[in-house]
Amino acid sequence: MRDVAIIGAGMTDFGRLADDDLIDMMASASLRAMKDANLGDTPIDAVYAANMGAGILNRQTGIASALVDTLSLLPAPADTIENGPASGASAVKAGVLAVASGYYDFVLVVGGEKMRNVTGWRATDFVATLTHPYAEYIYGVTLPSMAGMFTRLYMEKYGITEEHLAMVAIKNQENGLLNPYAHIHMKIDMEGILHSPDAIVNNSYVAKPLRLFDCCPVTDGAAAVILCPADMAKKYRKNFVRIAGFGQATDTHTFAERDNPTDLKAVTLACDKAYKMAGITAKDIQLAELHDAFTILEIAESEHAGLFKKGEGAKALEAGITKINGSLPINPSGGLKSRGHPVGATGVAQIAEMTWQIRGDAGPRQVKKHDIGLTVNFGGFGNNVVAFVLRK
């Protein structure tokens, strides 16, 4: 197996991109990544396109075929990868395996989703199609409702409060202000979203105890990376980033079948595999991009990834450890909470952000220590998780 490097990363604005269709967005991110990789005349050998739901949201399928033609990359082989909200990292994994195997040298991985052309209700219903059709979906389960139940249990077990959740929201929206690609550019404060009597309107409950600002927005956007064998990378970019390790794990489709509903087993397994492959432990991680579709998930994933002991994620938050200038910054990009969550794009966006951070190219949101970072892309409600460790 060959070592794999990331030599380019690109991203579109995340937000409501009313004038751009899905393929346009994915093409824009791809071209940015190719330019960033300084590819010149080097041909792309294969394309992996991550997308969760264009068939439902945009009445369009065959995304990879449409994209590769739009980009004039014919006859490059192209596959669409769908793995729920973990589609992005799954596509990167597929690209990494293809390069590592020696089958392809230069691979474009791009993730995109266009969700804002439907109402919020339809977008929520679309994401809910990943739940169990007979045990969950038909009873009206949505991801926010599932996350609400999980949050309640997690709060009771570990003493987490609504204030802790709000601290995640405030931190990540503050980080998002530094990210030009982020969907949400708004500084919020504890009084306005929690302590003031007006907070009941500003930040109403969505699925108790989760409020509006505990949930990521519905977002359009695309992100891309260019992969190649590490021994060829230097020709294109001196400060390339290495794929040090990756891991993937699954858990029960039905949430209620889990032995312990507060245990995100797949996160732990995926991260452990990634650490082992990278030859490190969680203690070596200097920064992380976690899948904070709901604020509770940042805390829970940070514990299940081994960055903090169980029940201590909130304490780390209180101590400022996870802030952008803390000793272990989490979601310096603003995370899903602020950058936004175009489901098929998110996993690639996390890796693009980590690439910029490790290169030292993250601009005003650059963290101090950036040699080795973790990304966690959380599919389903933790039933399919893909983790990556990237390093200099």
Partner: protein, 229 residues
């Protein structure tokens, strides 16, 4: 002057809306106060750019609000009022309505200029508060021109559909808010503190600051695109 008397509608006596202060999610304070006719020219400067914005039906709402406020200023609409939201003096949104009769109120429009802060939700709630608590009306008739309005008003307030009762804005059937519904939802949807601090109110009244056209357009539409550098 005699002809003008004929053209001007007779007005009902309307109780004033006492100003209040709302803390927004950003922590900034928004004054919600009743506009005076003298404020209309300044307000129209903020409404005018919205007429060109197709997104989320701002063009229809903007054009209609413009006409309604002008009608109020020039005494061609009966029993109209306008409530405005200001943050640091800057106009961030407005609502207007009128009394159809002593018993029935008409909700006209809600126009949020600064989006993402629930300014529209707060101002719509203030409008319902005015009709029910200060004008002491029994019901308010409401219609929606955009899906956002429908979701906010018809669903959040569980408004009662009135089949075959046309709202004066035309369009779809009207919905109504009763006193009972208002007080049921008030704890969840109506907020704000009174009295508004005098210095804050004086500052708001001193000048209505209007953002420039580009800023208003970006606040409403955003400035994002897949190809933006």
């Amino acid at each position: 002057m005699e002809l003008e008397k004929v053209l001007r509608p007779a007005e009902l006596i309307m109780a004033p809306y006492p100003a209040k202060v709302i803390t927004l999610a950003t922590g900034k304070k928004m004054i919600v106060r009743q506009a005076e006719p003298d404020d209309v020219p300044a307000i129209l400067k903020a409404v005018k750019p919205t007429i060109k914005i197709e997104r989320d039906y701002y063009d229809i709402v903007g054009a209609r609000v413009y006409a309604e406020l002008l009608g109020w200023l020039r005494h061609r609409v009966r029993n109209e009022y306008c409530l405005i939201g200001q943050v640091d003096g800057i106009l961030v949104g407005l609502v207007n309505g009128r009394m159809l009769s002593k018993r029935i109120g008409i909700s006209l429009h809600t126009l949020a200029i600064d989006r993402g802060l629930r300014v529209g939700a707060h101002l719509f709630a203030a409008k319902m508060e005015h009709h029910i608590e200060y004008l002491e009306q029994h019901e308010v008739w409401i219609t929606a021109e955009s899906p956002i309005g429908f979701r906010r008003w018809m669903i959040e307030y569980e408004l009662i559909k009135q089949p075959n009762i046309q709202h004066e804005l035309g369009g779809a059937d009207s919905f109504k808010l009763t006193r009972e519904l208002y007080f049921k939802h008030k704890p969840r949807l109506v907020s704000g503190t009174r009295p508004a601090p005098p210095e804050m109110l004086a500052h708001a009244k001193k000048e209505i600051i209007i953002a420039d056209e580009k800023t208003i357009s970006e606040q409403i539409c955003g400035a994002k695109g897949a190809w933006r550098q």
